[in-house]
């Protein structure tokens, strides 16, 4: 495998400087954001690299669990922060946290106990990487679905209440909205799967090929991962839609928009 030196990275960074130059000449006013994002990315990734190296040498289940929990918590916070209107109080965080935990546990657990089966099973090289990839999908589908439910309830509140007032059950009155939100949450993984190999070479596969793996072996890994991501997206979309709708109603099937900011 070809190892990269700081000089190699600095050379590639010239491209970012080029982007910034374009922004200045065309007055896009993006150069500051661009440079800030690039700098942030470098610092974040270097820090993660060292943390992962440290965790890998520890090879301790508790340390692995700790880093997985931290990653999940950050994903949960991001999901809860996405919609324009948010669930009031701690409910938003609780709901997105539960969604992340369930979706990640089910899919990563399935992969680690059946297909991948590393020794020991908590080997951070597999567990942390896998959780990282899965969290990306959970973040995507979870935030899109939550935004769909919360935004939809707010937009459709008078239509929902009109039905409730006529004795329609809350479940029934919100079913179209629930469907639409879950559909939105599943679109990214469907796009990802249909584009894989034709429009994009998925990152994991590319990485493994560059690292010297046989392309067909790399493809098998990628297929497994795509299935895991599809499962995680589905569980995340369904769970968060269900929990958010529950939170927006109560035992008397009222529409509780007062629980939104």
């Amino acid at each position: 495998m070809i190892s990269l030196t700081p000089t190699d990275l600095a050379l590639a960074a010239v491209l970012v400087a080029l982007d910034a130059g374009v922004s200045v000449t065309l007055r896009l006013q993006l150069h500051r954001q661009l440079l800030w994002a690039a700098g942030r990315m470098v610092v974040q990734l270097i820090a993660v690299g060292f943390i992962l190296r440290f965790i890998f040498t520890l090879n301790n289940p508790l340390a692995t669990l700790a880093i997985v929990v931290v990653m999940g918590a950050i994903a949960g916070r991001e999901i809860a922060a996405r919609p324009a209107r948010k669930l009031r109080g701690a409910a938003g965080l609780a709901i997105s946290g539960a969604t992340v935990a369930l979706a990640t546990l089910v899919t990563a657990g399935l992969a680690l106990t059946t297909a991948i089966r590393p020794h020991p099973w908590y080997d951070p090289r597999y567990a942390v990487s896998l959780v990282g990839i899965i969290l990306g999908s959970v973040l995507n589908s979870g935030s899109l679905t939550l935004d769909g439910v919360v935004g939809g309830v707010w937009r459709e509140r008078s239509a929902i209440e009109a039905q409730l007032g006529l004795g329609v059950e809350f479940r029934v009155a919100t079913r179209p909205l629930l469907r639409e939100a879950i559909r939105r949450g599943l679109l990214p993984i469907i796009n990802q799967m249909s584009a894989a190999g034709l429009i994009t070479l998925p990152g994991i596969m590319t990485g493994q090929i560059i690292a010297g793996m046989d392309p067909v072996e790399a493809v098998k890994y990628q297929i497994l991962l795509m299935f895991l991501l599809a499962g995680a997206s589905g569980v995340a979309a369904l769970t968060i839609a269900e929990l958010a709708l529950r939170r927006l109603s109560d035992a008397r099937q009222r529409l509780r928009v007062d629980r939104l900011t």
Binding site: R157, S158, I160, E161, L164, L166, G167, P176, Q253
Partner: protein, 183 residues
Amino acid sequence: MGRGECLAISGESGAGKSLFLRMVADLDPNDGEVSLDGVARASLPAHLWRRRAPYVAAESGWWAQQVHDHFAAGQLDRARRLAGQMGVGDAPFDGAVDRLSTGERQRLALVRALILDSPALLLDEPTGPLDPVSASRVEAVLLDRLAGGTVIILVSHDPAQGPRLGARRMRMADRRLAPESGS
């Protein structure tokens, strides 16, 4: 209230009239106890209670694009007849919701509640946006229901509406209901 009785509530905007109706319908959190024909509200699932005492808001909400999609197929003929009685013709009935006038929306929203044949009706300004002719057509339909034993609680800004419906009149001020002075 007894069967076939009507209660008309008046009062300034913000006094809590709509909130009162919504609370009776159990659409807003409340501590009250309500019963209808001896059946306590708390003993029924919320949607069954609302089916027996539907609430029609002053601003109607719509959940499909076409007007007739708001009615079950088996009820379309009756809904059309009721709409006709209140002066809404077939053209608006077979059109899109966003082509309706405010008055048509209000009357068609009322039709949605009337076809439930519920023992009670909770109506928030049912004739608010209507011209006097259309309002009296709506009142004729309501009087018909009252004669059939339906209990109606309505919010009204028209002081003459209560007497026309033979209603008991109450006034809401600062979230308290009191009998209308002089009635």
